[in-house]
């Protein structure tokens, strides 16, 4: 054991002999690990956020498609769907979009007759119950900020027939729900029908609850079989869409980071392609005074290992600080997405084994291997030959 400590001690001394070079390598290495780990931590946090919320999304959404375009669906289909064995609650929904010229955003209008009270921030004079009365609306915090809306204000909307409708803002969604409601305007369903000019016998789509989660695909299949012009979207598909979306955005960033990885690869290649004259002489001297090849290799392993582990841990710390305290400001615009109304939501840098393993595999393993290969070449040579070359 003592022998290994001596070799470790010698490795530290060897690194000290060229402190500037060691510090530069550690700094570049730490930065690379830090950026990679930040991206992985941030993506994990976004995936966790979307999964934790959308796990409550409808089990099946039934849309009607005509000529490749989403079309309003007859509301009486909901009654037929209710008759399918295993189907739970079936809800026809009315919702849609409207462009808001002052903000330049496409707002989402949602028809609902009540809103959960714990998602709302009511000011004085606002509603103290969950019911949404005729002529009232609830708006998202992002929209309220951009349009300077508060409880009791009027929010003018142009109806489909060109007339003006100005519902009173009955409440504003909490900032904590911004990821879901930032651009949302919730109106009573009847009011929204009049705004969009949707007849009472039509709805935007139908959500279907299924008692047994294993039967979701069967029920969706039966619905598509009954009405070939429908498209079904299951909860599993919604969750997969968001996993794919964050993977895609992470991939975009990763492709940008490829330049950093390429620069690091050049550093590693430079290291692997040969030792400096001084390093070769040191190995020759160590062999001449009785060090075995195994001990020389151990020395080089310690040198590479110290730099790698130090840089890996420093990089992980940088990543945690970046994601936790600075909310991943380097990545957030691309990972969260470009938007007129940018939702702010905190992310948590939960360090997991996969992040550590990926960072180790991408940086520590190549660097340490690159340190060992040329040293092994020199260590197996005769000391006399090494010193004379």
């Amino acid at each position: 054991m003592n022998r290994h400590f001596r070799v470790f001690d010698f490795a530290i001394a060897a690194l000290r002999r060229n402190p500037i070079k060691t510090l530069v390598v550690v700094a570049v290495y730490s930065l690379l690990v830090g950026i990679l780990a930040s991206l992985l931590l941030y993506l994990n946090a976004c995936r966790r956020e979307s999964r934790s919320l959308l796990v409550e999304s409808p089990e099946i959404v039934v849309q009607r498609v005509r000529g490749g375009r989403h079309e309003l669906i007859p509301i009486d289909r909901a009654d037929v769907i209710r008759e399918i064995r295993g189907v739970g609650v079936v809800t026809p929904r009315v919702w849609g979009y409207s462009f808001d010229p002052p903000t330049g955003a496409t707002l989402t209008f949602w028809g609902a007759d009540s809103v959960p009270g714990d998602s709302l921030e009511f000011a004085a004079g606002g509603l103290d119950h969950q019911g949404l009365e005729h002529g009232c609306c609830v708006v998202g915090a992002g929209l309220a900020d951009l349009r300077f809306l508060g409880t009791g204000d009027r929010f003018p909307i142009r109806r489909a027939d060109g007339t003006l409708f100005a519902p009173r803002v009955a409440g504003v969604f909490t900032a904590a729900s911004g990821l879901l409601t930032n651009d949302l305007v919730v109106l009573p369903t009847d009011d929204l029908r009049r705004v969009f000019g949707i007849d009472d016998n039509l709805c935007t789509d139908i959500t279907v609850g299924v008692h047994n989660p294993n039967e979701v695909d069967n029920v969706a299949g039966k619905i598509r079989e009954r009405w070939p012009d429908t498209r079904t979207i299951t909860r599993a598909q919604i969750l997969r869409t968001y996993d794919a979306l964050f993977d895609w955005r992470g991939g975009l960033w990763a492709s940008i980071l490829l330049t950093c990885v390429a620069a690091f690869a050049i550093l590693v290649w430079d290291k692997a392609s040969g030792l400096t004259e001084e390093e070769v002489r040191t190995i020759g001297l160590l062999k001449a005074i009785g060090w075995k090849s195994r001990e020389v290799m151990e020395l080089k392993l310690f040198e590479g290992g110290i730099v790698s582990i130090f840089s890996l841990v420093t990089g992980i710390i940088l990543a945690e600080v970046h994601v936790l305290w600075f909310d991943g400001f380097i990545f957030d615009r691309v990972i969260k997405g470009w938007s007129v109304m940018f939702p702010s939501f905190p992310v948590s840098a939960a360090l997991d084994a996969s992040t550590l393993l990926i960072c180790t595999a991408l940086t520590v393993v190549p660097y340490t291997t690159a340190s060992l290969i040329p040293s092994w070449r020199a260590a197996v040579m005769d000391p006399d030959t090494v010193l004379r070359t």
Binding site: F5, D9, I12, A13, S50, L53, L54, E56, S57, V65, G68, R69, H70, Y97, A105, T106, L107, T108, W110, A112, V115, P116, D118, T174, A176, S177, L179, L180, N182, L184, T207, D217, A220, G221, P228, I233, Q237, I238, R240, T241, L245, W248, L252, I306, F310, T314, I317, E320, L324, V334, K336, G337, S339, V340, M341, P343, P346, S348, A350, L351
Partner: protein, 113 residues
Amino acid sequence: MSTRPVGILTVMTVIVMAVEAAIAIALAVPATARDLGRQQSWSANRNLVRELGLTDLALSCGTSYTRHPSQADLFAPHNEHPAAIEHFPAGSVVQPPADAGPAPPGAPNGGTP
């Protein structure tokens, strides 16, 4: 090999590495604490998703297929006119829904018919 005691620098290096590892682990604690502190808002948000039947996150409100990517189909970004190309900035960072597109014959759960 030399029999001199292990250098102070070696001991310092080991201590610094141990302290760094401890800091890295300790930094994971505020993340966990933040998660615990957000349980209430998560619960309220999940309730909101359940009550309103929301399907998507309000990430990009530029257009329908970036606001509700799970409800859009593959050709939504290109349906403005024949040979239209996607032109919303957010479209660059929104991938089409994972299961959009025609369902293969006999598939249990397909996309657009």
